[in-house]
Symmetry: C2
Subunit: 209 residues, 2 copies
């Protein structure tokens, strides 16, 4: 049992890293199993198929994330509308994100990049899987925004939430590469946490616009 767990999680570790780096189609099972130091057939034995492995990678991330996010939302849902400032709402999203990074190195960047790739899969099966299984927290988030900013129409909120998601996925997912450029150009290095901090006023201002 303990040997099995180590095989499964070694596969998941290697897979999530490689998927984030290269994408799903560009990562072969042989590359994954080689890096994980397990036999090729063990992916199909433990996960059934490559597609299921991809979903398992997402599940491990999203379970951690949505659990923490859900807690944050619960406390917010007991506040008065006036207390629901955009900054506070953004922090409810950012706190669970930051705590991902404390578990594994680079987890934020990997997670965001995976989300971006899931979103780009226009064939749709993965995006549908994610939204079906974890979309309800996004709905709760939308409701909170509606409550805090009743002057905004519901589709204004819908779109602004997606503008926000785009900023986060794009910059945090690519933050490694962007930070390299930034460092080369301005000789200044920001950690992911700093990039997030820089992002809050930008997003909050846009939300309130």
């Amino acid at each position: 049992m303990t040997k099995t767990e180590s095989t499964k999680s070694r596969i998941l570790d290697a897979a999530e890293q490689l998927f984030a780096e290269r994408g799903f189609a560009e990562t072969s099972l042989r590359t994954i199993t080689t890096r994980a130091k397990v036999n090729l057939a063990s992916v199909n034995y433990h996960f059934g198929s490559k597609k299921s492995l991809i979903q398992a990678v997402f599940d491990r991330f999203l379970q951690d994330f949505t659990k923490e996010l859900s807690l944050e939302l619960m406390t917010l849902e007991q506040l008065q509308p006036v207390q629901l400032e955009a900054e506070k709402l953004l922090n409810a999203l950012i706190k669970p994100l930051l705590s991902l990074n404390s578990r594994r190195d680079n987890a934020i960047s990997i997670f965001m990049r995976l989300l971006g790739r899931a979103y780009a899969e226009t064939q749709g099966h993965l995006r549908r899987y994610v939204t079906d299984k974890y979309g309800h927290v996004l709905v709760r988030f939308t409701h909170l925004f509606q409550k805090g900013y009743p002057k905004l129409t519901i589709d204004q909120i819908f779109w602004r939430l997606h503008y926000m998601l785009g900023s986060m996925i794009f910059t945090l997912g690519g933050s490694d590469a962007l930070r390299q450029i930034s460092q080369a150009d301005f000789n200044r290095d920001l950690g992911v946490e700093d990039v997030i901090k820089e992002m809050v006023p930008f997003l909050a201002a846009g939300m309130k616009a």
Copy 2:
């Protein structure tokens, strides 16, 4: 010569559409040549390799886009700092984008999705190709922002520009799917042009924050 051009451009048409839909690795040359109704070998004959075909698809888009954008930037570069409001700068980016759509259906969405995919290619060769060949317009854009908003530090501008890019690529690239959701949820349909118009106040507020 005219037959050749029609083959080359038929390949480009089919390729850019399929690449945007499914991604580069997920699109085979056989799928492309079948849709383009040309022989399989003609891709390698006319473009050399699949990799070069991808670059050719980007070149066709980016030449059109950067030419128009460059014109917009030239007129802006002759203005006084006080006149360089964020909204005006954003329009310099949006106008060339909208004019893409007048040439081919769905061009904005396709273009943005391609940019997103190029950006996600972390192996890097495509992103480097794009930034090397067309990055100078982005630099000019940065300079304009610096001029209009001298109180912002240079890396604040750098990052905010990327927040903005993320919003645009994410929402416009996925606008088809998102608009479907939006329509299903609120029974209201926005065109791409409307989504862009909605985006301007959001982004402008963030830039000025």
